[in-house]
């Protein structure tokens, strides 16, 4: 039997954990209909604002950074929230929810700090049959200039205030979508929690200039010779999103909040990583924009394949499993010694590891003249992993743990007992009265 992908998120059920994030793919009924036909578990409808609708630029609204083979690695946009009348959106939301009752239908909103607006529109959204409300407190461009979007999301007290407003006027679960354009994501999450949020979703897009047109001497995308910062997303932002999800998930008082993971998910593996770090479900946008809704097949089948291999029968079997393994640097075991090992049979002699190590690391990789292949000198290798990063051959260089003996680099015997920085003799806190440096312990 195939693993069960059915998902429940703050009481909202969907046949799989993959929702389309509030963004261009969920802008209108035509798109959402196609998404549901393709098999998406749910959608967060493109953010609604009050009438009159916003207007978008009529020039390019997307910018992109392409890597090898012109594959988009990073993407940014200067699009605003829904530019259609709110009543039209509500009618379509209602129709879609009634056509697809098993799919999650969450409605994203961005309203000003005016209780009359919230009290008028949240009940009307609820009346469409929608399953939940998501607060867009994240758009870093355009809307923020009007005091909404990330302008709200960047101020914890406003996050709390808006969340409370929303909760006061709807019975639906309220998900607060967080902006990553803050110093500490946990402050925003704590504010959402304090305001009564049922869950958080993150990350929204990152403030960015994707590139500069060197002929026009203007940021891209360029609108009549000028450009502005936009929201960054796509594969490049995934590491940032993973960290923010993990920071909330491992936080002692926030960790129980439900998290909807967003940020550069394009494959089942990305999704599994977010869920392992504490996300209950996944929202996707850029990958769908780049490849179409059909990627849902890879997401669902791929996740099921992997779950089968691992013996997981449902999402709860692995959700949050990596969270206990996220820690602070000072807790890492300094007696864990690794050395790079190059598989001579796989090495193709490109020399990338050598020059990387020689120029920028520890001069630990040398060329064997007779074979033209490369070997690691354990006495110089600090186990940094740079060679693994630059090697073009899969599994050619591995970091191997030294379990016993003397580390040939330091000349120090390897202790089987873990030991971290807090216990290290070089730690100044151990040499002085720790409390005098820390102040009063908390």
């Amino acid at each position: 039997m195939k693993p069960d992908l059915r998902s429940e998120f703050v009481g909202i059920t969907s046949p799989n954990p993959f929702w389309l994030a509030s963004a261009p793919p969920t802008d209108r009924a035509e798109n959402v209909e196609r998404a549901f036909q393709a098999g998406w578990g749910g959608v967060v409808w493109k953010t609604l604002g009050i009438d009159p609708p916003v207007v978008n630029v009529n020039g390019p609204r997307y910018g992109f950074w392409q890597g090898d083979n012109r594959r988009v690695q990073g993407f940014n946009n200067i699009e605003l929230i829904s530019d259609r009348p709110i009543a039209l959106n509500l009618a379509e939301i209602k129709a879609m929810k009634s056509r697809w009752p098993d799919r999650a239908m969450v409605v994203s909103v961005m309203f000003p700090l005016d209780e009359a607006v919230w009290s008028e529109w949240l009940p009307r959204i609820e009346a469409t049959g929608a399953d939940g409300i998501e607060l867009n407190l994240g758009c870093p461009h355009g809307m923020s200039e009007r005091g909404m979007g990330s302008a709200m999301g960047q101020a914890p007290e406003l996050v709390e205030m808006v969340t409370r407003l929303a909760k006061a006027h709807t019975h639906l679960p309220v998900i607060v979508k967080l902006t990553p354009n803050v110093t500490d994501i946990t402050w925003s999450a704590a504010a959402a929690l304090a305001g009564g949020a049922d869950a958080v979703s993150l990350i929204n897009t990152i403030n960015s200039i994707i590139g500069v047109d060197l002929e026009l001497m203007a940021p891209m995308p360029t609108v009549d010779g000028m450009g502005t910062h936009g929201g960054y997303c796509g594969p490049a932002v995934k590491p940032i999103a993973l960290n923010m999800v993990a920071e909330i998930a491992r936080h002692p008082s926030l960790g129980k909040m439900s998290i909807s993971g967003i940020g550069g998910v394009g494959t089942w593996r990305d999704a599994a990583e977010f869920m392992a770090l504490g996300a209950t479900n996944i929202q996707v946008c850029t990958a769908a924009m780049l490849y179409g809704f059909r990627i849902i097949d890879d997401l669902t089948e791929g996740l099921q394949d992997w779950m089968t291999e691992q013996g997981y029968t449902c999402l709860a079997d692995f959700a949050g499993r990596a969270v206990p393994h996220v820690t602070d640097w000072n807790q890492l075991n300094l007696n864990y010694v690794t050395k790079a090992q190059i598989d001579g049979a796989k090495c193709i002699g490109c020399g990338r590891c050598h020059i990387a190590c020689e120029d920028t690391s520890h001069q630990a990789i040398e060329r064997v003249v007779e074979t033209g292949r490369y070997v690691v000198r354990a006495q110089d290798c600090v186990g940094c992993n740079l060679c693994v990063a630059v090697c073009p051959v899969v599994d050619c260089i591995r970091m191997e743990r030294m379990e016993l003996g003397i580390d040939p680099r330091t000349g120090v015997p390897i202790s089987p007992q873990p030991s971290n920085w807090t216990e290290h003799p070089n730690n100044p806190l151990l040499q002085k009265d720790a409390s005098s440096i820390l102040g009063q312990g908390d």
């Binding site: 083979n69 193709i348 002699g349 490109c350 020399g351 020059i355």
Partner: protein
């Protein structure tokens, strides 16, 4: 036998399709495949040590013209080498991806692409390192042109003497037409030799109006890049019959747009690149059947497996272990060829079985070139020659005569490839710079 002229229409219709190129849309993708190796094996494999990862990276970051400049720094004939180099036995064979992950990066085609972005009208600047020195270069082929170009760049005055009415050497006359479309060889020759310090004198042949002793007296140094003007002979009966041609002069004639004869059933004798070139071109010119015969096995052929496959793709039949023993004719015209099957026995080639008689109306010999008969006359009498009859040189391409260097096909240190001629020339120029700068001119 019919008479055909290689005009533009035929060139475009039949030869152009053989020209290999990378579509513009595939260039960046291919450039991205390069791993940017350090101490890259492809560079080591290139006789001229072109910085291959460096020029490919320039392409990858959208600057193919800079890529071209980088190629030219190592190899002034980067453009023609990108067309004629057997990359499958040089750089691409040694690409770390050759046996890994999708095959070798298409270095040759990327080089071609880069060179297509170079403006051959731009003039290189001169340094003053060799100012006041004057060198005579005999022969305006790849080796001679490289020497002249490099010497001019370091401020040396150069007189180039060429027997033919035009510069370019075998690139201009001996290479298959489908490899050198769009006047590429002439464009390159003009680029290399157009320099304030270079004077080109065409129609001046050594041993006729030009004499080595005089050159030694008049110049600080002399470089001999005279190539091989003689054609090896089979030494069998019937070699002088009408219908029997040496491949290289035939190709030169064809490329000049002069009428050439094309047979119905053509036999090419030889196994090198010129054999494949002439076989393919005979097909393109309209020969109904073209056979290549080689006395040893295909694996011993000088033509790479890829060149052989190109010939097969054009319908050329390649036969190994067949040795011509006589060309037979009637009324002085070639009619058939007698071929002796051979075999390897304990490493030696032996005849096996009865000879075969093939009805052939045109024979091409492509068994190599040699020094022209004029060599050995008093003009060159003092020069030493090696066991292959080529001018003997040391590792710096110095001949036994002080002040005289030689390189390219007329010396025997490397294969007869354009890229080797360039490498020879580079080494010779380095040697000249060392010797001519430290010595005063003999008087």
């Amino acid at each position: 036998m019919s008479t055909v002229t290689l005009d533009t229409a035929r060139l475009e219709a039949r030869f152009r399709p053989l020209e290999e190129s990378l579509p513009e849309s595939a260039v960046l993708t291919e450039a991205d495949r390069c791993y940017y190796c350090y101490d890259a094996p492809c560079v080591v494999a290139c006789p001229t040590s072109i910085d291959i990862p460096g020029f490919i990276r320039a392409i990858a970051v959208g600057q193919p013209r800079r890529a071209a400049e980088r190629i030219l720094q190592a190899n002034p004939l980067g453009a023609s080498c990108s067309r004629v180099c057997p990359v499958e036995t040089l750089c691409e064979q040694h690409c770390v991806r050759a046996e890994h992950d999708g095959g070798a990066v298409r270095i040759g085609l990327l080089q071609r692409q880069a060179m297509a972005h170079f403006s051959f009208t731009q003039q290189s600047e001169s340094l003053a390192i060799m100012s006041g020195k004057r060198v005579a270069v005999v022969g305006a082929g790849p080796a001679g042109m490289t020497v002249a170009h490099l010497l001019a760049e370091v401020g040396c005055g150069v007189d180039v003497f060429e027997a033919k009415p035009f510069a370019g050497g075998l690139n201009e006359s001996g290479i298959a037409a489908y490899k050198m479309l769009d006047n590429a060889a002439q464009q390159e020759a003009n680029f290399l030799l157009t320099h304030a310090l270079i004077r080109l004198h065409c129609g001046v042949a050594l041993g006729q109006s030009l004499h080595l002793q005089q050159l030694r007296r008049d110049y600080d140094g002399v470089f001999l890049g005279v190539g091989l003007q003689g054609q090896q002979r089979l030494g069998i009966a019937g070699e002088n019959l009408a219908g029997v041609f040496s491949a290289v002069p035939y190709i030169a004639q064809m490329r000049r747009g002069e009428p050439v004869s094309v047979g119905q059933t053509v036999l090419v004798i030889g196994g090198g690149m010129t054999a494949m070139d002439i076989a393919i071109q005979a097909r393109l010119l309209g020969a109904r059947e073209v056979h290549v015969c080689y006395r040893r096995g295909v694996e011993a052929m000088g033509a790479s497996a890829r060149e052989q496959q190109m010939a097969r793709d054009q319908g050329v039949y390649i036969h190994d272990y067949l040795r011509p023993i006589a060309i037979e004719g009637k009324a002085g015209i070639c009619q058939s060829v007698l071929l002796q099957p051979t075999a390897l026995s304990e490493g030696r080639l032996i005849d096996v079985g009865e000879p075969l008689r093939w009805m052939i109306d045109q024979v091409f010999t492509a068994i190599g070139q040699c020094m022209a008969d004029s060599v050995g006359e008093e003009d060159m009498a003092d020069l030493h020659f090696d066991q292959w009859g080529k001018i003997a040189v040391d590792a710096q391409f110095r001949t036994n005569l002080k002040g005289i260097w030689a390189g390219g096909d007329c010396t025997g240190r490397s294969d007869d490839l354009t890229v080797h001629a360039v490498a020879d020339a580079k080494a010779a120029v380095l040697s000249m710079m060392v010797e001519l700068r430290t010595e005063e001119k003999e008087s």
